[in-house]
Symmetry: C2
Subunit: 667 residues, 2 copies
Amino acid sequence: MMSQGEHHDLVGTLTGGTWTKPTCPCCTSLNVEPLVLMQLAENVDPVTKKWIISRLEAPVRDGGAQLLVHSGEDDIGNVVVLSAPRCTQLHVTEGLGICKPYKDGNMTPFSYHDRNNFSNVDDMQVFLTLAERQYVVKYQLNFVRAKKDRTIPGVPESRGVLFARESLFRKLEKLGIVKAVIALHDQQKLGALAQAWYAKGQLLGQPLDSIQAYFGSSVAFYFSFLDFYTWALVPPALLGVALMLLPMLRRMAGGINTREGPEEGEPSISGLAVQAVFNMLWSTMVMELWKRRTASLTYQWGTMQLTEHYAEPRPGYHGPPGCNPVTGRPEACFPDWQRQLRVALVSVPVVGFFLVLVALGMASFYYCEALAKNFYTSYDSWLMTPVLYLPSVAHIVYGNMLGTLYNNVAQALSEWENHRDESSYQNYHTTKVLVFNFFNSFAVLFHIAFVKQDLPLLRKRLASLLIITQLVNQCSEVVIPFLVDRFFSSSANKPKEDDPEEDQLRAQGRLPAFPGLFPEYLELLVQYGYLSLFSCVYPLTALLLLINNITEIRTDAFKICRLFRKPFSAPASDIGVWQYAFEILGFVSVVSNCWLLLFSPGVNQLMQETGFSSHGALIFAIMLEHVLILVKMIVAFVIPDEPDWISLKKQQIEFRSVQALKQQKRR
Amino acid sequence: MMSQGEHHDLVGTLTGGTWTKPTCPCCTSLNVEPLVLMQLAENVDPVTKKWIISRLEAPVRDGGAQLLVHSGEDDIGNVVVLSAPRCTQLHVTEGLGICKPYKDGNMTPFSYHDRNNFSNVDDMQVFLTLAERQYVVKYQLNFVRAKKDRTIPGVPESRGVLFARESLFRKLEKLGIVKAVIALHDQQKLGALAQAWYAKGQLLGQPLDSIQAYFGSSVAFYFSFLDFYTWALVPPALLGVALMLLPMLRRMAGGINTREGPEEGEPSISGLAVQAVFNMLWSTMVMELWKRRTASLTYQWGTMQLTEHYAEPRPGYHGPPGCNPVTGRPEACFPDWQRQLRVALVSVPVVGFFLVLVALGMASFYYCEALAKNFYTSYDSWLMTPVLYLPSVAHIVYGNMLGTLYNNVAQALSEWENHRDESSYQNYHTTKVLVFNFFNSFAVLFHIAFVKQDLPLLRKRLASLLIITQLVNQCSEVVIPFLVDRFFSSSANKPKEDDPEEDQLRAQGRLPAFPGLFPEYLELLVQYGYLSLFSCVYPLTALLLLINNITEIRTDAFKICRLFRKPFSAPASDIGVWQYAFEILGFVSVVSNCWLLLFSPGVNQLMQETGFSSHGALIFAIMLEHVLILVKMIVAFVIPDEPDWISLKKQQIEFRSVQALKQQKRR
């Protein structure tokens, strides 16, 4: 943590203009920390800017955001720097249900009323993390809603009226008056974090707590998961290598083996069976242990008792004005059944339609490929070679276009479903994009494995996919960023620690927005899919993924630290819908592995040799599948989802709140 | 509800001796309602009786039960009548977390501190149900624990010392000083309940709320489930009849049909498939809708927020003295991991061992039967006929002996696992007995269906099992009870309303103890098993079960009202482990139905006719199974487990307690 002195120096450099004087005595402080930068349109009317600032400064009871505002260089410029006074910080912390260390050492949901019993409550720099302080500002911005229909000063009525209970900042963004709201980097902390994280070239461990403090818990959860998953890859990688080496060693030892062994590079049947069973147990254990790890992290990071459902709705949420039936506060009321109807009658069919389009694309690709081959063989001229590539090219173009279209449609649908909570919106949106991408990535592999039943082709495809994915990743995530970074440095766009603060702020505004964690999680999920669904045909998968992930950690860290704006990060208590995606994949993998085992050439050969009927083998595969799924469910049931000490802490909090409710006399 | 006046009359008849005078002014009342009868040993030392009464009367802060005690006819008799003063009633209600109507009309966890805001809090007869008032007395009895090692007055030290924190009443029961603790019937209320329930001969509906008020929520949950399940049988019964009639009608209409139809009584393939799919959807819907019904009932009956985990542990719970880590109250501390170890290393293997014994018994039965047949055919004399029955008789005797032995072992194991909460003890015990009984009931049928694959035999077995079960049930549950009742009436043992109250009490003591709801639930589960696992071979199952259950409701009602002591009933919020048992059966039934479909003679015939390979049919069956399970899981996921209005109420309570915790300043 930065000491007060250092911080004062930093703030001192913000010249011209002054910070809002807080009205509340406890919030008065020499040092105001610039947390968030609001970029306005170039041509913003000073009247509008002044009005916006007044809304930001106004106390919550008057419908304002109760923030500290600094109007940048001067009142005419298009930049506003924001911070939050202590009172606002503490009230929002309570409203979000964030836990903080109590005087008895336990993490306890913060209570403003009981604030003096929490540790370090006097020093906001220590009490809240940087990410939390910045999120508080963002939350307060979203909080500002019009009390009744009105116009915005300096904006003609023809361009737009602010309706009652509409989010002011969403409106300003729509009107193009607010260009961007940016969480500011703290170059000193960022430097220290980068040092501890990736700059020193250490390969083991990540400073997860510092990541959480600096980037917030949703980002920290991604890196924790990446870390956990990478370590979890060690056992299957070792097994894969062992299964690869064992037949070779055996062949070398007993060169005079008469019985024809499996082909070079093709694992033996017992190896396949071992891998299928191991895969099942491994994937179950990994997800169960990750749940326990999640529980510990949420406790540590104070996000164990988030009350998003009782906090303010997300800014995009709209509906007829009403009262929240739980909290009793005035807010838009959009009935649940209407949302469910929209999901069931529109979203699900639309997603299904796109999946059909993917399948159609694949089918026509196969059809055209066969046509092209016929054409090529019948003409047999080198001039006709391009024809052979035509279907692939067409398929790739089609796939990309469909993907882009789908992303826009999914975004619009999720927005239209009108979710109240940000996490619920994220989950529905992620699910949509996930299902499509997953289908897109695996449809071809499933087709090869279960329709064509061509295991050698599957092995080749998988190996090339793994190697190409890795090359593309390394290229796009290491080489290009490195070049971009060089380029940035030379163009003096990169923020430097000795620049005047305004320039630093402006430079941060020029960085591209953080693209979110979705592509990162999706990459992991697709990897995990290759590994758990098909790895028994290509045992080295885990090893390749392990190598990939060790570099992935550093490149992702570099990306988020240096190449993008600092993202706002809502407090999170898990990895959301990704948890379910990984678990579902675990179940699908049991089915997939059993069938792959059945189709493998080794098993076919064994069946012919032993005279075992294919009918018998099929029944055996089915029974194996059922037993493995049963074992998987029992293992998942037996391992508790959270460590005992966490359950105890939760029970203590629950007991205390039940007691508190009983002690309370209602008027 | 009984008016105050009537009640006074009833109490007035309790002659000789007096009730404890409550120390607390709010508890002083003219009318003390006799709730519980404690039967002591015939030869109990008056000193011991006096001491017991003093412990019962002593306030909680002095380690007593704070009850109202009436020493029966005189101080020497072996009967003690108990009641609870208002303060005790209210404190226990709060401790158990029972919800009661608040002044705003919502069910709210009762709070002693805020008691005056609850409706009817001044009249205990209205505020708490009879079952609740009686459970309060039972709970307080269990609550009495020794503060330090001591002897019991009138009991020589050689017979036993009461150890610190040992449950006094468990000890007295072990020593044989307390013979029984009996919840007293209220003949007037019982008469009214019987009238509304079964006496009038109405077939539709049960007075569930009155049952809950009189017998408590666990009994009421059983009858609600029975009711719900009986109604749920109507659609499959109709379908079964339709599937039975349709082929007959078709045969009658088109008598000149050339293609050979299925055998008489054997459903057609399309019928089988329809039934398999219908079964799957039906079982899922029933269990999901039952969950919703459970949620409504728990709200209505005030058991939505039970806090058993924070209340006193069950009397049998023991361990080194310590502090409850959540509530901070002194109590025995038996670590969870030790209990889990006992379950995993002892209970699970022992249960497994007994299942193996069942399987061995079945195997030797088949072996001996074959032997006996051989023997019979080789000797071929009528003298040898008994030999044919020998294996069956031996198997039945073995099965019964094994069952009895297992029940004792399961009881001892569950006790030894040392569960803290009564519900946890019940769940573990039920699971043990359930698994064994289920295996015992279905092993033979599964063997016939999937090993022998003899569907006609399965059909015969199922039909005879259903009809025999029904006959046995009707006999044991209607005819015998009726005769017993006559017999009771003639022997003047039956309590009559105009008897002096002491005689009534003594008469109730002579009734047999209520055997618990386990056999009743097990009967339903086995029924449900017949229906969902195998019904597609015998479509009339549902109809037979429907008829059975309609009478079952009345006979069960008669049994619990007239033939047994009134059971104590802990507040319950669901049907416990039975819910899971029914749900698991639902999944097993999908697998079972798909395979039965595959093995059915109709499908085999169709395959031969169409030239479809058995391999293809097998793959089709597997795919059908996977699709049906997927659909089942989606349906179960899509239907919310509780109605929206219940979720809202729960959220409101949760929000209020979170707020209350925040309002509280800890010292």
